[in-house]
Point group: C2
Chain length 180, copies 2
Amino acid sequence: MRYCSNCGQEVLRKVPEGDTLPRFVCGSCGTIHYQNPKMVVGTLPVFEDRILLARRAIEPRRGLWTLPAGFMENNETTGEAAIRETREEVCAEVELGMLFSLVNIAHISQVHMFYLAAMSAPTFAPGTESLEARLFAEDEIPWDDMAFRSSTLTLRHFLADRRRQAFSVHLEDLTAGSRH
Amino acid sequence: MRYCSNCGQEVLRKVPEGDTLPRFVCGSCGTIHYQNPKMVVGTLPVFEDRILLARRAIEPRRGLWTLPAGFMENNETTGEAAIRETREEVCAEVELGMLFSLVNIAHISQVHMFYLAAMSAPTFAPGTESLEARLFAEDEIPWDDMAFRSSTLTLRHFLADRRRQAFSVHLEDLTAGSRH
């Protein structure tokens, strides 16, 4: 951020009075421009015993597989975002189940959330940002070609919970160096 | 938003190519300025059988009571945000328990989240944004003087869950007209 979105003049980086962190502050109109983490919301769509994944048609991680998810929009709920992203990325209509995972990725200021989601029919297709959509049985999941750790983690928790038929919410914090 | 934060020229409101929603787009440098929901994170701090609330010293809802919570900052996790806000608003050190509530407030593009939190001693004080901090037993909670519905809802779920000694994650969607 270099210019004030309110008045177009240059911003400075400083700690506003009464605050504890540096912010972009307009030197002209005084507007304080707060910056906050973004939420990425998606689903783990299940048809019978298989899981629907999308192969990314866009960067980052073009060509790799992911659960359908994307940035939450203003004026929608987390549930609406999850349904919308599933529709956009894999053209599937799902019935949302429980909130299943919440993954903090603090070094990129993102929070990823996934809902379990049920498909009533194997109806899906790649959306405009996907190269391919496909249902995977547990032993077919392309672990070495997954795009994002939040998807991988969520899948692993799902498979473990399904094995013991006990599903709970999973919170995870990823760090820049961590591998899962 | 009226000016581009990247180059200082005027922005237009339009649907970028390949997108489905209108965004602020710079007419000069082409930067697309996405706007996304903000997360408000806090705790429900418990000492023995009592709950710690803060009375707000700032607008909105100055003078009313709330669970300690505030906007999540970049480069922190939801858990870190919850602990920090509790420290800032009621000067209390807590041990985080489970993620307990997630409240969508789509008409103001916010997601509120509360963790259960344990206090090992009744040590607290009003922070700079609070007039007062106080431990409340169940029958003392100032229901008519609560600042925000997300706090009220979270308290009600906690008391109900505590009565049956079975705690689960609660997801709620608030709408502009709804009352709780």
